[in-house]
Each structure stands twice: as C-alpha cells, then as structure tokens.
C-alpha cells in the first residue's frame, strides 16, 4: 500500500516537474529564445557559487558529524599503525589543499567568466611555462609521498623483529582458525587432504612430531601487548582477507600460497575499551575479501593481553594433538575413571535430548 502511495506521489511530482519544464520552454520561446537563454545562464552561474559554498559547508558538516566515528578519532592500536596514520595525515593535507583550491577555482571561474555580452574572450591556446609548472609541482609532491609510502611499505612487508611471536591464521567459509606453535616454537607440517572437520581442521600431519604441542583455537586469537607478532596466513577454501582495521593492517588469505603480516599491538583490549569509551570494544578480524554468501559474518576476535595474562591463558590450553588422540593425553591416562564417565555421559546426553524432543 505504502509502495503504491510512494509511486503515485513520485509520478505526480514528475508530472508537475514536466509541466513546469514544458511551460518554461514555451515562455522562453515567446519571450525570445536568446533573452531567456541568457537569463537561465545567469541563474546557473549563480548556482555555481551556491553549490561551491554549500558544498564546502557540507564537507565541514560531514566531518563534524562523522569524524568521531572513524578510527582516526583515537590512536592506532599498533606501533606500525601509528605510521599509517601519520602518513594518512600528510596525504590528507596535500590532497585536501589541492581539493579545496581546485574546486574553488573551478566553480569561481565558471561563475566569474559566465557569458556576458561585452566580454571578449582571451585567445589563450597554450603556455609552456604554465604547463611546465603544473607538471613539475605535482611530480615533486608525489615524489615526497612515494618516499614516505615506500619506507613504510618496506617496513610493513619486511622481516618482523627477531623476538616476534608467530601465529598461523587460516580462513575458511566462514570463520577463522588460529594455530600456535607451542613450546618448541615450530609448527608441525600440514597437508590439506588430511583435513577432517571433527578432529583435524587444519590437516596437520601427526607423524611430524613438531605438531604434537601445537595449539589450535577458533574465533579468538590471543596476543601480547608490546610484543611483535607475525601472522602466517592461509586459506582452506576460497580467498579471504585478514582485516585488522584497528592495527591498520590487512592481508589476503590465499589457498595454496601462504602470506605473512606482522605488527606490534600497542594497547590491550581492556585499555582500548577505555580509550574508545566503548565497554563492548573488541579487536575484530573482518574478512575483507568477498568469500561467499556468509562473507559479512566472517568475524574473528583478537584479545590483546599483558604478558602475565597471556601466559596464564596459554597454560590452560591443551595441544590439538590430544584432541585428535585423547589416549595420548597424559592427563587422560591418570584418572581413567573420570574419563570413562565422561565418555559414557555423552551418549546418555544424546539420548535424553532425543527423549525430550519426542
């Protein structure tokens, strides 16, 4: 119903506009085409200035409304991210000046040099001097921006510091799997044909003993404040992207081709809650590369902790190897009774559920 109403109103507005437009054309012809053309020319000339002024006010107002909703309202959450931000500000300054300057010139020229009967145009076909100036100045400015940019680029894509911890990130439709190398600081090998959703989500080759202490977690990754971290990124199915907007970092997850990314978290999650004033603050990993119909929900979380909190957290984690082979778990061998009780409980639970359903 509302749809019909909206359509009707729209059509009505169209009709009115059309009638006005037609009438203006008639009046124009009756009054003499040349005269009415000059009148509309004046109106459009004036609108050029109006648009310029309202537009610049709009730019200011938009910034006023939205700036605090962007990431720039507070510090970048990584050491490297701060460099991204400072580069962003320099780029903004350069492009901002050019933007405002050229837009003003464009619309003011249009207004100022609008058609007037007594104006004689200036036949000005070229000027080597002018053209040289506006080739050289942009070229120099851009060189500066390129130099800043490439220094950062080589830092970001270069080797991480020696003391960096390593976490493996694997994307899948539609979630994230994280693997830590464990005490031996080395990952066990993996092969995608070993993947089995129930017990081996990454396809780890268990014969490789390096894998036996690897920790595997889903959805949440734990990092240490002030400790550089290198992510080794891969994908199980299609291309994903590890998007870390608070750390100003991003890297594709490509099946078959591992990629890397490193950064140094600057604030713990709790500190960021205070900085942003948002008690629900989370470092989110957003998938930034179209990966299927669940793309928009492919969320991971990073929790940045102090070293002590991190150590405590990690101490409580069991290697993934033991999830795949519970009988190898030393903690399982001692209290046999408890374990069998647990195993026994599982079918019992299922059967109660079935009963409840019935």
């Amino acid at each position: 119903m509302t749809m019909i109403l909206i359509t009707a109103v729209t059509v009505l507005i169209f009709l009115v506009i059309f009638q006005i437009a037609k009438a203006t054309e008639y009046v124009g012809i009756l009054n003499g085409e040349e005269k009415s053309r000059k009148e509309t020319n004046k109106i459009n000339g004036l609108l050029m200035v109006v648009f310029l002024v309202l537009g610049l006010i709009g730019v200011w107002y938009c910034n006023h409304l939205l700036f605090n909703k962007t990431l720039l309202a507070h510090d970048a959450a990584s050491v490297e991210g701060a460099r991204v931000d400072s580069m962003l500000w320099v780029t903004l300054a350069v492009t901002g000046i050019v933007f405002i300057g050229t837009q003003i010139v464009l619309f003011l020229f249009a207004y100022k040099y609008q058609e007037q009967d007594n104006r004689k145009v200036y036949f000005f076909a070229h000027s080597n001097k002018l053209e040289f100036i506006w080739t050289i100045i942009p070229a120099i400015t851009l060189t500066v921006l390129v130099v800043i940019g490439l220094r950062n680029w080589y830092l970001f894509t270069g080797e991480p510091p020696k003391d960096a911890m390593v976490v493996e990130v694997t994307g899948k439709q539609f979630g994230w799997i994280f693997r830590y190398p464990g005490k031996d600081a080395a990952f066990g090998k993996k092969y995608y044909k070993n993947i089995d959703n129930a017990s081996n989500s990454l396809g780890i080759i268990w014969e490789d003993e390096l894998s036996h202490d690897d920790l595997v977690m889903e959805q949440t990754m734990y990092l240490v404040k002030g400790k550089p971290v290198k992510l080794v990124i891969g994908s199980r199915d299609v291309i994903h992207d590890v998007g870390l907007s608070h750390f100003r970092m991003k890297m594709d997850a490509v099946p078959g081709i591992p990629t890397t990314l490193w950064f140094t978290p600057k604030y713990t999650t709790n500190e960021m809650k205070e900085i942003t004033g948002n008690p629900n603050f989370q470092y989110e990993i957003s998938c930034d590369q179209m990966c299927g119909n669940g793309h928009y929900s492919m969320k991971g979380v990073i929790e940045v902790l102090d070293q002590e909190e991190y150590d405590a957290k990690m101490a409580g984690q069991k290697p993934y190897y033991f999830a795949a082979f519970p009988d190898k778990d030393p903690s399982n061998t001692k209290p046999i009774v408890a374990d069998t009780a647990k195993v026994a409980a599982t079918p019992a639970e299922v059967s109660t559920k079935v009963i409840a359903k019935n």
């Binding site: 006005i20 437009a21 464009l106 000027s127 990629t259």
Partner: protein, 603 residues
C-alpha cells in the same frame, strides 16, 4: 495548443528545407534502417539505448541493495512480489544481495560505461568529426553491436537461473568463482556470466579495431592527426587500450572455464570445501587470475574515463568560446595515461602477498598517473579562465565531471600508495573513490555528450529545464552519497557486507546508511526524469533550425541537420585548421573547414 505548434510556430517554413534522408543509395527497409543497420549513427543509437536499459537495471539493483544496507531491520513485502524466494518475507537474502552487488558492478562497468559510453560516442563521433562517410567496416561495426546484444541477453537470462546469477563480485576471483560448491551463484549463473562476458569481449574487439582503422585511415583531406578534435584522440586511445587488454581478460576467462568444467588446476590448489571434502587440484595459483583480470581491469578504468575526458575537453572549449588550453599537452597526457594504464594493474593487488619490490614499482608508476591527470585538470581550469561561459546542459555536466574527477582522483593518491592501501583496501573508501572518479564522473561525461550531441542525433533539443534539474540534483546527490563513504572507509568498514549489526567496529553508521540509501533513491528517480526527457525529446523536442546550434568548429556541424547514411550530401569538407579556433582575431568561432585567411594571426 500542441507542443509542436508553440515551439515551431515561427520556423514552420524551414521544415521542408531540411529533408531527412538525402543521398540514399539503396532502399531502406525498417530492418536495414533500424535493426541490422550499418549506419554508424544508428549503431551508436543502438548502443546508447541498450546502455540506457542496462543503466536503469543496474541502477535499480543498487537501489535494491541500498534498501538492505539502509534499512537492515525493515521488511518490504513488495520485494517478495518482485524477487520471490530471493526476498523471502520482504527481506533480501544474502545470496540475492551478493548477486545484486555483482551484477550491478558487471553491468555498469562493462555494459553501460564501456559499451554504452565508448560504443555510442566512438560510433557516432569518429566518422562525423574526422570527415568520413562511415566506419572502415560498417559490417563489423554492426556485428559489434549484435555481439553486445547477445551478451546482454545472456547476462539477463542468468538472472532467472534457479541457483541465481553469479554472486562473487564483478572481479570474479577464483576459487570462489570456479567452485559451484563454494557458492550457489558460481553454478550455472557463472557459466552464463562467463559466456556473456566472452561475447562482450568479442564485441568490444570488433568495435575497437574498427575505431582504430577508421581514425588512422579515413580522415578527410587536411585532417592531420594534430588537427583532430580531442574527442577523437580520446576515443582512439580508448580503442587501443581495449584491443590490447581485452584479449588478456578473455584468456583469463578461458582458463577459468577449464578449471570450472574440465578439471584443470590453473587457479586451484589445496582446497577443502565444507560438505564436499578435499578437492584433487594442486599446484594452481589463485593470484594468476587476478593478474590476468587486472591487466584488463585497470586499463578498463581508462577505457571508461578517456572518452569522458575527450568529450569534456571538446564541450568545455565550445561553451567557453575559447580554445582548449594546451591541446598538445592534452594529447600528451592522454598518451601518458594510456601507456601507464598498462603498467599499474598490480596496485589492485597490494594485499595479495605481492613481492614487496614489485609492489614498490607499482606504487611509483601508479602515482605517476597523477601527473598527466593534474595536467588535464589545470588545463580544463585554464580553459574556463577568461572565457565566456555558456551553461548549456552539456557544459554543466562537463564542469561537474571536472569537479568529480578532482575529488575522486585525489583519493587515488591515497590508495595508490601501498602502505596506506593496506589499511584502506577493500573498505568503503575504495567504493567512494572509484564511484566518484570512474562511475559518476564518467556518467557525467556521458550525460554531457548526450546533451551536447543530441541535436545532431535526433535533430531536436532536449528540454533545458529538465536538464538543469537533472544536473543539479545529480551532482549534489552524488556527493551526498559517496562523500560520507570516505568516512566509513576510514572506520575500516569493509565492502560487500550484507549486514553490519554483529560488528562492534562498524555498526555506528546506521543513520548514515539510511541517509545514503534515501539519496540514492532520489538520484535514481531523477535519472528516470532524464530518460523521460530523452525519449520525449526524440519525438517532441524543440526542433533544431540551424546547422550549428552551439557555434562549434568540428565537422559534424557541417552536415545536414538530420544527416543520412553517408553524412555529407556533396563532397566531404576539407579541413584547414585545428578544431579550437574560438575567439580568434575577434571572431566568435572559425569552423575547421574554413581556409586560413591571409591576415590571420598564428598561435
């Protein structure tokens, strides 16, 4: 009183003087004149109108997905009436959302802004402005349109496939686009998408070869390359770009077809699909496709933009009543852009794990494009300076083009700098950037061209008042839609998200999204006003009564008001000067076919 009577009361006597089809060598039937026409002007109109149909469909798709983004909590029962199972309960499903986004992108980039823009104006303007009776091969030209038509039909039919049209983004990155098991849209919808695109490539190659051959070989006497109007230079470079890059895209598609249907592993490796298991493919590179795709994909941006630049240069000069400033610099910068267009493709791939050294080369080359772009902008500004500007609708859109090109071009400096791109890549910042600089700006170039050459196409004017409303609402609306998206991008908000409600970092823009959606609908409605004006004016517009209504120098205005097949009635005029002698020696304008006077000054 009828429209016709009021508009033409004083000029009735002239009507007979401009008979429509002089000089026809054969009897035209409806079929040969309007359907399988080999007249470049009719083919141009076919491209234009097909492009308009696609623009409406593509625009409508954006309105539909903007409904989801702006009003994620609401349901619209009428959507279910239109889309059926794709909008169960009046809410667009994620699958439908992604299909809409993908098709919107594909259709607007290729069908509207490539075929609709350069297909229309290359066909229409090249023979008319270089002084030729038709294209080098009118038959190939006709085929070019009909291949495009076939591509259109197949693309359209993919909307009605049970598993839905392709929904993996217009860039069609494998493995997503290669594996039907990874996304239902990659099933038969994707087969149709590839076939349609392959036909489209054939169409643009046939067209492009023809444009190049015509510009190089069929210029009239005296029309040296350096006397060509800038429109022709731009369309020429566009055609060269297309001919050199579209085949690479096609090769990428062929490998994709092999991976999809014949079990090869060009792009596939180490893949485990939930519910299917591990695939046998090993050793392929998903990144290879991106290289092949963007080797076209980036030149494609300039295929879209250059014709608009060329037309804007021409229209700006005509309506400033002043020569284009720096004609040779304009050609030089077009040339530089065309060369650089081939050397920057990997700036779309900074976050794919590209070799850092290679990345830095692409940063350098990418930012280099800003130099010729800056030259063009400053030259346009200087063209306005001390001119005598007439705000015809074409001129307004040309000025709007420059404004948008500046705004969108400057953010290219952000995104082309890889270290900054890492942060902004695939966020709304990118959407804002390319919609302003490539989408809206090129649309403005197209509108400028349509308003400016409509009198030549149909022998009538479009309604100015409607045109002015169209312009002011569209430019204000375009900025209101895309300007705030920079801020969303600076908040890290990713593209192609169906819903932001679960994201603590991105859900703060609810009101803004609603505002953007509302403006998008208004702007879309105003485009319908433009379409109405266009079709109404074909039949009822004010008649053109003089040969050269804008007082322009180029050759198309020396043809009869409604030129027949062959364009000129008698001899093709000879050219004696460049196209930009406006305001020279106190003369308002000097047409290109006017011989150089004895006492004429040099410039």
């Amino acid at each position: 009183m009828s429209n016709e009577a009021v508009l033409h009361a004083s000029v009735g006597a002239h009507h007979e003087a401009h008979g429509d089809e002089h000089h026809e060598h054969h009897q035209d039937t409806f079929i040969t004149k309007y359907v399988f026409s080999q007249d470049h002007k009719m083919i141009a109109k076919q491209f234009l109108i097909t492009g308009m149909v696609w623009a409406v469909l593509g625009g409508l798709m954006s309105v539909l997905f903007r409904l989801q983004l702006g009003y994620p909590e609401s349901t619209f029962p009428w959507l279910q009436d239109i889309l059926g199972k794709w909008a169960e309960g009046g809410k667009i499903t994620p699958a439908a959302y992604y299909a809409l986004v993908t098709t919107h992108g594909t259709v607007l980039v290729f069908f509207v802004l490539t075929a609709g823009l350069s297909g229309t104006f290359a066909n229409f303007l090249i023979p008319l402005q270089i002084g030729a009776r038709d294209m080098a091969s009118p038959f190939m030209n006709m085929l070019s349109y009909w291949f495009f038509f076939a591509a259109s039909i197949i693309m359209l039919s993919s909307m009605f496939v049970e598993t839905g049209p392709f929904s993996g983004g217009w860039t069609a990155y494998p493995p997503l686009s290669a594996l039907g098991d990874a996304s239902p849209g990659s099933k038969s919808g994707m087969d149709l998408w590839i076939i349609s695109m392959a036909l489209f490539v054939v169409s643009s190659l046939l067209g492009g070869l023809n444009y190049i051959a015509t510009v190089l070989n069929m210029r009239t006497k005296g029309m040296s390359m350096t006397r060509l109007p800038l429109t022709i230079w731009a369309l020429f470079f566009t055609a060269v770009l297309g001919v050199l890059s579209f085949p690479v895209l096609l090769s990428g598609f062929i490998l994709l077809i092999f991976d999809r249907n014949f079990g090869t592993s060009f792009y596939l490796s180490d893949i485990f699909i939930n519910g299917v298991g591990a695939l046998p493919n090993e050793g392929g590179s998903a990144i290879l496709f991106q290289h092949l795709f963007w080797f076209l994909g980036h030149p494609e941006v300039y295929i879209i933009l250059l014709p608009a630049m060329g037309m804007v240069s021409e229209i700006m000069s005509v309506n400033s009543r002043k020569p284009i400033f720096g004609y040779m610099a304009m050609i030089g910068s077009l040339f530089a852009i065309a060369i650089l267009a081939f050397l920057v493709w990997a700036h779309h791939m900074f976050v794919t794990g590209l070799n850092p050294l290679l990345g830095s080369v692409f940063v350098l080359l990418t930012l280099l494009i800003a130099v010729p772009s800056a030259i063009k902008v400053f030259n346009w500004l200087t063209t306005l300076w001390r001119g005598n500007v007439r705000f015809t609708p074409g001129m307004l859109f040309a000025i709007g083009f420059v404004s948008l090109f500046i705004s969108g071009g400057l953010t290219g400096i952000w995104l082309g700098n890889s270290a900054l791109d890492i942060h902004l890549h695939d966020t709304y910042f990118v959407i804002a950037h390319f919609h302003i600089v490539m989408g809206v700006a090129s649309m403005f170039g197209m509108f400028a061209g349509i308003y400016h050459w409509f009198p030549k196409m149909y022998g009538r004017f479009m309604n100015n008042t409607l045109a002015y409303i169209h312009f002011w609402v569209t430019i204000a609306g375009a900025y209101m839609i895309f300007w705030p998206m920079h801020y969303q991008g600076l908040a890290g908000m990713p593209r192609r998200y169906y819903d932001f409600s679960v994201w603590e970092s991105f859900k703060q823009f609810g009101e803004l999204n609603q505002f953007i959606s509302l403006v998008a609908m208004i702007v879309f409605a105003v485009q319908l006003l433009f379409l109405f004006n266009f079709f109404y004016s074909i039949f009822k517009g004010r008649r053109v009564t003089t040969l050269n209504p804008w007082g322009a120098n180029t050759l198309e205005w020396t043809t009869p008001i409604r030129p027949g097949h062959g364009n000129w009635v008698g001899e093709i005029p000879e050219v004696h000067r460049w196209a930009y002698d406006y305001g020279k020696d106190g003369k308002e304008f000097i047409s290109q076919d006017t011989p150089i006077g004895a006492d004429e000054s040099h410039h």
